[in-house]
């Protein structure tokens, strides 16, 4: 099977300042179709830079990036824009919703841009809004929503065109625990349906949904392995009430 993501000795050095700052230092990462990978590490470890490069939002200094078997690090900005529209969903810590469109249209737009029929785009919009408890907010403007609601809209939008790859950078950074539960449930569902996900997060609840954890430190992968699934247990076995 062709991996959805493959990087070869990927390097990013920021040289805007007086001293060049290496952010990512030789990352080899391969993500198989349907895999859910959580990326964790201290701030400054290069995790955001890494997923931004995977989405073409930041250019690499050296190394290779492959998406769905196609080399993409050499693409022009406009070719990247096209690729993102068709293949990549992106959720950021800050939501980047289109301010003068309704919530519903924000969610529907990517599917329409990707060439899905209006009927299918509408169905997808409705099921996503329902899954995230946002049906009643469909006609509101993004500015009328709370931070938590806007974040859920951003997630719905990222999933609207069923991308080959969902990239997320701290997608639950602004959510209270109830909103987080809706996001967790939806991520769990789309993952079960085969959605490939690469997600930077500090939130252990979200990271624990992943199959695999990649830990970054100083721009390098220092750990890469499965998150063990244990047999389901009862509360008494998991929580110690001493």
């Amino acid at each position: 099977m062709t991996p959805v993501v493959k990087t070869v000795n990927l390097v990013k050095i920021y040289s805007d300042g007086a001293v060049p700052v290496p952010a990512v230092r030789g990352v080899d990462l391969q993500v198989e179709p349907g895999e859910f990978v959580a990326v964790m590490g201290p701030s400054g470890s290069g995790k955001s830079t890494l997923v931004h490069m995977l989405g073409g939002l930041d250019t690499r200094t050296s190394g290779e990036i492959w998406l769905d078997g196609k080399r993409v690090d050499t693409l022009s900005e406009s070719a990247w824009a096209l690729l993102r529209r068709e293949k990549i969903g992106f959720v950021f810590q800050f939501f980047n919703l289109v301010a003068n469109m309704t919530v519903g249209d924000n969610v529907e737009l990517p599917a329409l841009l990707a060439g899905v029929s209006p009927k299918v785009a509408r169905e997808r919009r409705e099921s996503l809004l329902a899954a995230l408890n946002l049906t009643e907010r469909a006609d509101a403007a993004p500015a009328q929503l709370s931070g938590g609601e806007q974040q859920r809209v951003a997630l719905a939008r990222a999933l609207a065109n069923k991308p080959s790859l969902l990239l997320a950078d701290e997608p639950t950074g602004n959510l209270d625990s109830r909103n987080t539960r809706d996001v967790l449930r939806l991520l769990g569902e789309v993952h079960k349906e085969g959605q490939t996900i690469v997600m930077v997060t500090h939130d252990a609840r979200v990271a624990a949904l992943a199959d695999r954890l990649v830990s970054l430190f100083d721009g390098e992968i220092v750990d890469d392995g499965r998150i063990a699934r244990r047999r389901s247990r009862t509360a008494g076995e998991v929580i110690d009430l001493r």
């Binding site: 959580a38 964790m40 590490g41 201290p42 625990s177 539960r181 967790l184 449930r185 500090h202 939130d203 252990a204 609840r205 990271a207 624990a208 949904l209 992943a210 954890l213 830990s215 430190f217 220092v222 750990d223 392995g225 499965r226 998150i227 063990a228 699934r229 244990r230 389901s232 247990r233 009862t234 509360a235 998991v238 929580i239 110690d240 009430l241 001493r242």
Partner: protein, 168 residues
């Protein structure tokens, strides 16, 4: 305290008072100053279990002192302690002991310990996610309890990251 003493003895043989000093120096104010009597009692039990071996050393003008050596059996027990994942929130200081002591002995490096522990915590969190999913919303006490456990676990993970930044 048994395993902490074994870890110190894995670094070098010592007598009881040196172990007390080593604990104080290694942990500073983070560790309650150990009672010397408790250390000798513990060493006696470790000797009885074959985990350490005591050798009398003659001293001029003073009674003999006992120097303790780690036995192969003691080292095995220590290795098992270092290698097994540490339990969740209530006993997290156990992991900190591993983190501070294990590298001194050359048994394990901190980066590996931290990485393994991080994955262990996430697997515990995954249990809690499942449990939360299976708990009816009306059962609010149970949900709060699970969320409490999740927050503890999140704090442990954040702290693990701090340890990594400063120690690894």
């Amino acid at each position: 305290m048994r395993l902490h003493l074994l870890a110190l003895l894995a670094k070098e043989p010592a007598h009881g008072y040196e172990l007390k000093q080593a604990l104080e120096q290694t942990f500073g104010s983070a560790y309650p100053s150990p009672n010397i009597g408790q250390i000798y009692v513990t060493l006696g039990r470790l000797e009885k279990d074959g985990l350490v071996r005591a050798v009398d050393v003659e001293q001029s003008n003073r009674p003999n002192k006992k120097v303790y050596y780690l036995t192969a059996k003691g080292r095995d027990l220590l290795t098992t302690w270092v290698d097994e994942p540490t339990e969740g929130p209530r006993v997290r200081d156990e992991f900190f002991m591993k983190l501070v002591l294990a590298p001194l002995t050359g048994i394990a490096d901190r980066m590996a310990l931290i990485n393994r522990q991080r994955r262990h915590y996430l697997s515990l969190m995954s249990d809690l996610n499942d449990l939360l999913e299976r708990t009816p919303p009306a059962d609010r006490v149970a949900i709060l309890l699970i969320e409490g456990a999740m927050l503890h676990l999140q704090a442990d993970l954040d702290w693990l990251e701090r340890c990594q930044e400063d120690l690894a």
